[in-house]
């Protein structure tokens, strides 16, 4: 966004992704504790926790009035509100921001519901690229067991709005299976750090910490669009350099003075 200044974001943004009930929240709590003991300022933020619209989303889920576009845009609003009021200010003051779910959850859920992938990427184009995305990967059978053992299956986590199966269990397995498939695709596309979440919690926690530790020492937050622009600029620079070399070779008297114009 042109009006949003993203200069000087000193903090680190870490997103933890993974299907419903994989244990994200529990692990985030432990990580926060662990980081705070080491002296880092930590802010955790999570899906639908925006004071502006979080409640509206909860209400909307009660009734059957959600279509995939509104669903996506409600989440986008929630995310934008938290981005501007929590995440960016925290990063600016040097906090480590732990995000329980990130835009990838929205991508997965709404691609599965039939939204256009490109449109989803466009809508969330204002997002900051996290310094690290940890993906808690699990297979759907283990996940189903884990969810039933803990808090039980609910309507939305089972994707019952999509009429995938006759009961919660069937629907859950199909829906979460589709989500996992999407997450797996994105893990490659966006370079997630994959953590095997079938293991006992202590081992998962250890693996997560091993991911986080090295990046705390380096790295910088970038915007998706900015990152893309920078990449394009870099490529252009390379191209121009080679062009420069060519032109220098051909006529040494006319240096390239054309200013770089970016669309």
């Amino acid at each position: 966004m042109p009006y949003l200044s993203l200069e000087g974001l000193k903090g680190k943004l870490i997103a933890i992704e993974g299907p419903d009930g994989v244990g994200r929240s529990t692990h985030i709590e432990s990580i926060q504790e662990w980081l705070e003991v080491q002296g880092y300022g930590v802010l955790t933020t999570g899906w639908t926790r925006s004071p502006l619209i979080g409640k509206t989303i909860e209400n909307a889920k009660q009734g059957n009035i959600l279509d995939p576009w509104s669903f996506t845009l409600l989440y986008a609003t929630d995310f934008a509100d938290r981005l501007e009021h929590q995440i960016i200010p925290a990063l600016r003051s040097g906090f480590v921001v732990l995000s329980d779910r990130y835009i990838y959850t929205a991508f997965a859920r709404n691609v599965v519901r039939g939204c256009d992938r490109q449109w989803l990427h466009d809508v969330f184009g204002f997002a900051i690229v996290p310094d690290l995305v940890c993906y808690l990967r699990i297979d759907v059978d283990t996940l189903a067991l884990r969810v039933i053992e803990s808090k039980g299956m609910n309507y939305w986590e089972s994707g019952m709005d999509m009429r995938l199966g006759t009961d919660l269990y069937d629907s859950f397995k199909k829906y979460q299976g589709m989500l996992i498939e999407e997450f797996d695709k994105m893990a490659e596309e966006f370079g997630f750090q994959v953590v095997d979440a079938r293991r006992p919690p202590e081992e998962i926690q250890e693996a997560l910490r091993a991911c986080i530790l090295p990046m705390l020492k380096e790295g910088r937050t970038k915007r998706i669009s900015k990152a893309a622009a920078e990449k394009a600029a870099a490529e252009k620079a390379v191209a121009e350099k080679s062009a420069e070399i060519v032109s220098e070779k051909t006529s040494e008297l006319t240096p390239v003075t054309e200013p770089v114009t970016t669309g």
Partner: protein, 261 residues
């Protein structure tokens, strides 16, 4: 019919049997007055009409109200909330009547977002992509009016006050509401001028008398509806009767009240 309108910019005509007519213009341009007169006329002609208004969906109404009241809305969340409202209305209010072959009248459409959000500093490309799922209107009327005229209408007319966001007070352009309105709405006008070109909106001179404008509007609409075959359902008469029992709603604001009866 091809139901998924999920992708592609709103530049291809929709495949539905109904017609979508939208009006655009800055606050105080008189577009709502003109639209309600048009509605009367179409109603009297026996068309099945469905009316929908910008920022009116139940889904986000409460949030927008709260956000405006506490002034925590940023240009980005402001934009996204309006898009959410639009998406929800398109799904529940615009598409079903269009598919059923009705005439849908929309008071403001995505062009409002394009104009206002650009002034608030949101990326123009991004907003256009945000609305890429929108149905392309069959006719988009733009009521063009100079700032002074709209301001005079708003201050002396039916409303006699300027709203905080309507005057763009969130941008901190001026501590004075009237000044802020002038600056903000002038910029919106500039954006509209570009949008008229880009999307081929039909321009109406909104400084003319109400009846003169309406005459033009009806002429244009008649042309636009020429290829349209109205579908007459047995229940449609009820809606028409319902409307004849009430006086014409006052321009601006009173629309919602009339609906509630």
């Amino acid at each position: 019919m091809t139901p998924p309108v999920m992708k592609g910019p709103a530049t291809v005509p929709h495949p539905y049997p109904g017609k979508l007519i939208v009006v655009e213009g800055i606050d105080g341009s008189g577009k709502s007055t003109q639209l309600s007169l048009l509605r009367k006329w179409l109603d009297a002609k026996g068309y099945n009409i469905f009316f929908t208004e910008w920022n009116s969906s139940e889904l986000v109404k409460e949030t927008t109200r709260r956000g405006k009241k506490t002034k925590i809305l940023t240009p980005l969340t402001f934009s996204l909330l309006h898009a959410t409202d639009f998406a929800n209305r398109q799904y529940h209010q615009i598409l079903p009547p269009l598919k059923a072959g009705m005439v849908v009248l929309a008071d403001r459409y995505m062009y409002t977002a394009f104009a206002r959000d650009a002034v608030r500093g949101v990326s123009q490309t991004w907003v256009r992509r945000l609305y890429s799922f929108a149905v392309k209107p069959d006719l988009a009327l733009y009521f063009r009016v100079p700032i002074e005229v709209s301001l005079a209408r708003l201050l002396t007319g039916t409303r006699a006050e300027l709203k905080y966001y309507e005057a763009g007070m969130d941008l901190g352009l001026s501590p004075n509401v009237v000044e802020s309105f002038k600056i903000f709405q002038s910029r919106v006008l500039n954006e509209y001028a570009k949008i008229v070109e880009e999307f081929g909106l039909t321009v109406i001179d909104a400084t003319l008398e109400i009846d003169e404008q309406q005459e033009q509007v009806r002429e244009i609409v008649e042309k636009a509806l020429a290829p349209y075959k109205p579908k007459r359902g047995s229940h449609a008469k009820r809606e028409a009767l319902f409307w004849r029992r009430f006086a014409l709603p006052e321009p601006g604001g009173a629309e919602g009240e009339a609906d509630r009866h």
